[in-house]
């Protein structure tokens, strides 16, 4: 239960970190809070030759509202969001998600950028941020590019990050005053990996919704044109119109063959819809 030996470097800034990563891309791993990588290192599932510790980089610890969106540096922790040390443009949505990630001792070190980079399907942010319509900025020595969060996660533990590239910032759009938010998950034990996640951002006034079915062992299902889930239109009565058969069909389409698993996912999604309507 001790990691295999590794070399350790603490770069002075982001450029130095990217240079170290570029020079050792096959054998180096970035560590931030280490709440996902740490267990894998201790179990020797991962044996990198070099650990590049970015946890001290001040340029990744910013949190500011720019225009109509919140820009969070990759090193902002779940507890930072839970406690309100960062501005909240989602009217409590992100605080609620953050407060229920793992355990407080983990939230004090675990980072939003690290969670996204790890791309664990059972993690909260990949589903919650996809529902909120967030984007992620990736940086390498070659420059920066920005992707929608739902395009960033490609599969189990598989993200769009190229070798030598790291998550720099997350851009969260302001939640409209008329938009309802619901988030639910099912864990066998509080704080453990989720077995189902439902996240919905429903704006009856604009007749629009973003619906995410997550923790399905692969890329979450993100429905941006969600009218079909609500009997063809999204209006004030969406709670009554939520159609479990359409949700079930989406899960069948995503390759979830086990009816019991689908039932859990649909039930959790329904809880998220009911929470949004409450």
């Amino acid at each position: 239960m001790k990691p295999a030996p590794f070399s350790y470097e603490r770069p002075r800034d982001l450029d130095a970190a990217l240079s170290m990563l570029a020079a050792n891309s096959a054998s180096a791993k970035i560590i931030a809070g280490g709440q996902s990588l740490g267990p894998m290192l201790n179990l020797r599932l991962v044996q990198p030759e070099l650990i590049v510790d970015i946890s001290g980089l001040a340029e990744l610890k910013r949190a500011e509202v720019v225009g109509n969106e919140l820009v969070l540096g990759a090193l902002v922790t779940h507890a930072d969001i839970e406690d309100g040390r960062t501005a909240d443009v989602t009217r409590g949505a992100m605080r609620g998600v953050a407060a229920n990630i793992a355990y407080r001792a983990v939230r004090n070190r675990g980072t939003i950028g690290g969670s996204l980079s790890h791309a664990d399907p059972a993690a909260d942010w990949i589903s919650a941020l996809a529902a909120l319509g967030a984007r992620v900025t990736l940086r390498s020595l070659a420059g920066a590019r920005t992707l929608a969060v739902d395009a960033f996660v490609l599969g189990a533990l598989e993200s769009a990050l190229h070798p030598g590239e790291i998550v720099e910032a997350i851009h969260v759009p302001a939640r409209a005053a008329s938009a309802h938010w619901g988030y639910a998950k099912s864990c066998r034990k509080t704080g453990e990996f989720a077995h189902a996640i439902g996240a919905v951002l429903i704006n009856p006034a604009a007749a629009s919704a973003r619906v995410v079915i997550g923790a399905i062992d692969t890329t979450p299902i993100v429905v941006t044109d969600a009218a079909e889930l609500f009997g063809g239109r999204i209006a004030a009565d969406y709670k009554q119109r939520f159609d479990v058969r359409v949700a079930d069909a989406l899960l069948v389409g995503a390759g979830i063959d086990d009816a019991a698993q689908r039932h859990i996912h649909v039930s959790v999604l329904k809880r998220a819809v009911l929470e949004a309507a409450a």
Partner: protein, 397 residues
């Protein structure tokens, strides 16, 4: 070895330790502060919870080197702490411990709840303590003890500390270290011993721990596909991550398969035996391999059955893939994620096979393509389109 300087229990300490040394091992082994307990050593049980910059953190998955300049408080440093003193009295009164192994971590987490959640009811206390496992008490006494301290402090009008007193952003324990002076110096790692004739002579039958069924279709006649499956070198070239280490024979193949799941990478080297039945257009491949780096071994079995489609113009390839892992990698207890990887690899295999049989060059498809399967959005979209063709089915775990 690296020199690590930090504050522990209000005392400046400096010791040299390997970068892989956890904060828990650092305080236990260098400072003899053995009140910090290690249970699971992967962040689940909470026994190792200490205060890092004043708030709880897991010292088993936090490396001491990453805490350079930080302020650490272990259970020994809480002797004079007012809240902890109240909690200790309450734990004694309510029988909140039996063997005491979880108690140091439990007290650190309980202290945090008392400070942050002045209105916590039983449910919130239970949720708040869910990251600290106790195998003796059933938690009843622990919850009562914490609740009594919270109520007593509320009665005394003591104001909460909603954020645990933290004002800066980022992981606790970070931010006070100086950066490394130079370019990285890689410590050469002891290489795993070369595989001693990795290919086993005998490949036994086995009962797979995990079985997954996959199916894909090819726009070629079954006989042609079956013949293709006999061309082992060509099939190997289509299999993502597979390379041959010896010229294949019709009934036996030796080679290596590289697999990567997120940060987990393995290269299994071994051999497989092959059986085919032209009458039923089916076959079976049973293999065994070892990954030297992770000291892990796998046994695998692929059964395939070709089913004619569209009056024999096309073929459905039905695969049943079974495997058993032993060693380090077997600790990865997330079969669902492995299934997703298998699905992606088989999609890749089917694509390569189709290109090969249609006469397109498949050379570049080998090995690299798996690793870049996730390389950009365009590929992801293609993968998703492609994915619709497949029906994946997970079997027993």
């Amino acid at each position: 070895m690296t020199t690590i300087a930090l504050q522990v229990n209000r005392r400046a300490v400096e010791f040299s330790a390997e970068p892989r040394t956890s904060l828990a091992d650092f305080v236990r082994d260098k400072l003899d502060l053995t009140g910090t307990h290690l249970g699971c050593e992967h962040g689940v049980c909470g026994a190792c919870t200490v205060l890092l910059d004043g708030v709880p953190a897991r010292s088993c998955i936090t490396y001491a080197v990453a805490c350079e300049g930080a302020d650490v408080t272990t259970i020994e440093g809480l002797d004079e702490d007012e809240v902890t003193a109240e909690l200790r009295a309450a734990f004694t009164r309510e029988h909140a411990l039996q063997c005491g192994y979880c108690t140091p971590g439990m007290l650190v987490s309980a202290r945090d709840l008392v400070l942050r959640l002045p209105d916590a009811d039983e449910r919130r206390i239970r949720v708040g303590l869910s990251g600290n496992l106790c195998r003796c008490t059933g938690y009843v006494g622990v919850v009562r003890a914490v609740q009594s301290v919270i109520e007593a402090r509320r009665a005394r009008n003591i104001a909460p500390q909603a954020d645990g007193g933290r004002t800066s952003l980022g992981p606790v324990g970070s931010g006070r270290a100086t950066s490394s002076p130079n370019e990285p110096r890689l410590v050469p790692q002891a290489l795993a011993p070369a595989s001693e004739g990795a290919a086993p002579a005998k490949i036994p039958d086995f009962t797979p721990a995990t079985v997954l069924d996959q199916r894909f279709t090819l726009a070629h006649a079954p006989a042609k596909v079956f013949a293709m499956f006999d061309d082992i070198a060509a099939i190997a070239a289509c299999l993502p991550g597979v390379s041959l280490t010896a010229p294949p024979r019709p009934e036996r193949v030796e080679g290596m398969i590289r697999v990567r799941l997120g940060p987990i990478a393995a290269a299994f080297e071994g051999a497989a035996r092959i059986a085919r039945d032209p009458a039923t257009l089916s076959g079976r491949i049973v293999g065994i391999g070892t990954d030297q780096r992770s000291h892990s071994a796998t046994q695998g079995e692929i059964r395939y059955q070709l089913v004619p489609l569209e009056g024999g113009a096309a073929t459905a390839v039905e695969l049943s893939i079974g495997y058993t892992l032993t060693g380090m990698l077997a600790q990865f207890g997330r079969p669902g994620l492995v299934r997703d990887l298998a699905r992606r690899l088989i999609a890749e295999f089917a694509g390569n096979l189709d290109r090969h049989m249609s006469g397109a060059p498949s050379g570049q498809a080998v090995e690299l393509s798996v690793w870049s399967i996730a390389s950009d959005v365009l590929r992801a979209r293609l993968a998703r389109m492609f994915g619709r063709v497949f029906t994946g089915k997970g079997g027993a775990e």
